[in-house]
Symmetry: C2
């Protein structure tokens, strides 16, 4: 966890983004390390965990990181949590919790309410052209050389 | 939506990833277009919506896409939905729904259960070193040149 904290401090120093760092470990060795870079990259998805996953996937040449663990200085937001899930990482070590993070202005409680269907105001979702999009899924399903993942 | 479908078809053709495409629009003009690239990039976060957001942020040089709308061929997964939320996009047009997508093998229902606290088995979450990580948040909070976002 100290390595994740050091990463966060490094990013904070140069105003790359918020005070968040993450490390991915495989067989006791660090595979990737990253800090939040939302401000310096203008990329709203550049959270520490997402960047650490992207780097680890690149290093290991695999989108399946099921033999890795992630250490992150704060409880992952829903985007990062889902990214960890898609990367098939099974174990997450986190430091501060979402209430600690909300207390300094990084609040994801509205999104949690939205995804739990307790509040529908966070995003307006409109379903259109389902028929045409279903055709796309049918084409995929019938594709003989598709690779499932 | 047709542009999002075309994007998805383009990616499918070359086996870049699953049959998913997304388009971001601002003032009636397309700002970015992307398809799923999980397989070709080995990046588990390379979903169409995330890639479209990254591109739009780069083009507009802003992590705040609140004046944009997104068209996506399928209902966004929780990672993409949270990415849309962090990008401050307010309106999402989607084609097929999560049940349609699950029917061809892309199932995020386990993750939905996890984030709704109905199933805790998807990920093992371990809280460690909260005190040291809280110190990091305190440093940020007291930082005189921090930029909130």
């Amino acid at each position: 966890m100290q390595a994740a904290i050091d990463e966060a401090r490094e990013g904070m120093k140069d105003n790359h983004g918020g005070p968040f760092g993450a490390i991915i470990v495989k067989d006791g060795k660090v595979v990737s390390r990253a800090h939040n870079k939302v401000l310096i990259t203008n990329d709203p998805t550049a959270h520490a965990e997402v960047l650490a996953i992207r780097q680890a996937s690149e290093v290991l040449e695999n989108f399946d990181l099921s033999d890795c663990e992630i250490y992150t200085s704060s409880q992952p937001c829903p985007m990062c949590l889902a990214a960890i899930y898609w990367a098939r990482i099974k174990k997450v070590y986190f430091g501060t919790n979402k209430e600690d993070v909300a207390a300094i202005g990084f609040d994801d409680s509205l999104f949690y309410k939205f995804i739990r269907e307790e509040d529908e105001n966070a995003l307006e979702m409109l379903n259109i052209d389902r028929k045409e999009c279903l055709e796309l899924l049918r084409e995929w399903d019938e594709k003989s050389d598709k690779k499932m993942y």
